[in-house]
């Protein structure tokens, strides 16, 4: 009896320890697994030619594009659950990512992209919801479009054509106005800030019909005049070789020098 009790006692102690250990392991793996399911990562590199072009259409999340001094495009993304499918395509030197098409009819979480491109890359990024950030790009064209909400931030841009548009959110451009270029910024509600060199030359049409707040800052001169009861500014700065069109339906517009 006592022997069997001893044996039984001897068997009970490792059982408790084992259970505790097992519970700890399960708890640890559950946490890790949850993290893996909730946040996945995507990473891919593409060799880039001289005239590379990035076209990215996201559904929701932040897209950051930054120029670098390498002949390759590096795309990394963190995917929130439920994770989206990302299927990049390379067609005639252009890198195309279309999350709308790849995930049509599916519910997907935010996808936050971080893309590094050669300085001379043509950038065309778009999202339904989320912020778009482009930095250090000197290609032929930069386009950033948000269908609904989000901020557009374009910093250190030197492109012949720049288009930035959003619904509700702020819009910031910090870059050059090149001769013969075309620059178009539009927002439904938010603040538009344009930071450009004082030696720029452009034909300007700036419209803020609701707030009538158009601050020309150091660019104010006799060639630029307010029309339509102060809702619009039109005219030339410098020799007017490029075109700058800024429209903010329910917000203000401000100009600064770099």
């Amino acid at each position: 009896m006592s022997h069997s009790a001893k044996i039984g006692y001897g068997l009970k102690r490792p059982k408790k320890t084992t259970i505790l250990l097992l519970l700890s392991v399960v708890f640890f793996f559950a946490l890790t697994a949850n993290d893996v399911v909730g946040q996945r990562r995507f990473s891919r590199n593409f060799p880039a030619g001289k005239n590379v072009r990035l076209q990215l259409l996201n559904r929701s999340g932040t897209v950051t594009v930054e120029g670098w001094n390498r002949p390759e495009v590096s795309i990394s993304a963190s995917l929130e659950a439920p994770a989206a499918t990302i299927s990049p395509q390379v067609i005639e030197g252009a890198i195309l990512i279309n999350l709308m098409k790849d995930n049509q009819g599916r519910e997907v979480g935010n996808v936050n992209f971080n893309v590094r491109v050669p300085y001379a890359c043509v950038v065309d990024i778009e999202t339904l919801i989320g912020n778009l950030i482009v930095t250090n790009v000197r290609g032929g064209s930069v386009r950033a479009h948000i269908s609904s909400e989000g901020d557009v931030t374009l910093t250190n841009i030197s492109a012949n054509t720049v288009q930035a548009q959003n619904g509700i959110g702020d819009l910031f451009f910090d870059g050059d106005i090149l001769p013969g270029g075309n620059y178009r910024f539009a927002s439904m509600r938010g603040t538009i800030n344009i930071r450009i060199p004082f030696n720029s030359s452009f034909k300007l049409v700036a419209t803020a019909p609701s707030t009538r707040y158009i601050s020309l800052g150091p660019f104010a001169n006799s060639n630029l005049s307010y029309v339509g009861d102060g809702r619009r500014v039109v005219g030339k700065f410098g020799d007017g070789s490029s075109t700058l069109t800024v429209t903010n339906q329910r917000g203000g517009i401000s100009f600064f020098t770099r």
Binding site: G105, S148, M188, V227
Partner: protein
């Protein structure tokens, strides 16, 4: 013999083609039947007339002269029915018999319209509408433009706007239906963002619609309304693809 049998052979009886017995029978019936007797007399008269030789009065003395007289008579009595040479119908058939004053007015009208069209053409050639639209954005239409609108040569800004808005509203309705079908599959965050943006655009559309009701010639508001409607259409289209 009854009347039917009698009338059936009456013609042969008159011609004397019946035999004696049947001829006697017909004679006996005619003696007692007034109706058949009358019929017999009429038939005999007709046959007699037919057998008489043609008289000279039956043939006109100069048929050609007679036809000429008849033609002359018809022409004098029925001038409207005389067939005439067919003339081209329509505007050209009745428009060229103008008096001197009418012709003068027509020439002046043509000259005026040509001048107006030339001026419009020159203005459009040298001043593309997009170039200085922003500068003219809040200016009312010129007298010249009003004149053209009044004579119907160009569409008034209000008419053009109404037409554009109708077209845009039709497209918006289409995309809106698609969005309504799809939005049940969106998550809460997506629905909320969409609704906020749509509300914002609708506010803008309402603002400019009201301004344009008060001042239909405000081109800047017209332009902004157009832009807001386009934005609405794009928002609906893009979210309908989710």
């Amino acid at each position: 013999m009854n009347c039917g049998e009698c009338q059936e052979i009456l013609s042969r009886f008159i011609d004397g083609e019946l035999d004696e017995k049947r001829s006697t029978t017909v004679s006996d019936h005619l003696a007692v039947c007034a109706e058949c007797t009358v019929l017999c007399d009429d038939l005999a008269e007709i046959l007699l007339q037919c057998r008489e030789p043609e008289t000279d009065e039956a043939v006109p003395p100069n048929p050609a002269a007679l036809w000429r007289r008849i033609n002359n008579l018809i022409e004098s009595e029925l001038p409207a029915e005389i067939p005439v040479e067919e003339k081209p119908r329509g505007w050209f058939a009745r428009g060229w018999n103008l008096t001197f004053s009418q012709a003068g007015v027509a020439v002046l009208s043509i000259a005026l319209i040509s001048s107006l069209l030339t001026i419009v053409g020159i203005r459009n050639y040298f001043e593309p509408p997009g170039n200085d639209l922003p500068a003219r954005a809040s200016e009312p239409p010129s007298t010249f433009q009003r004149l053209l609108s009044k004579v119907g040569l160009v569409e008034t800004s209000q008419q053009a706007r109404e037409r554009r808005v109708k077209e845009q509203q039709a497209a918006i309705e289409y995309w809106d239906k698609r969005v309504q079908m799809r939005r049940v599959t969106w998550d809460h965050r997506m629905r909320a963002a969409f609704d906020r943006n749509l509300f914002e655009i609708d506010q803008v559309v309402d603002d400019y619609t009201q301004i344009l009701r008060k001042d239909p010639d405000d081109q800047l508001s017209e332009e902004m309304l157009d832009s807001a409607l386009t934005e609405k259409m794009n928002l609906l289209r893009q979210f309908s693809e989710l």
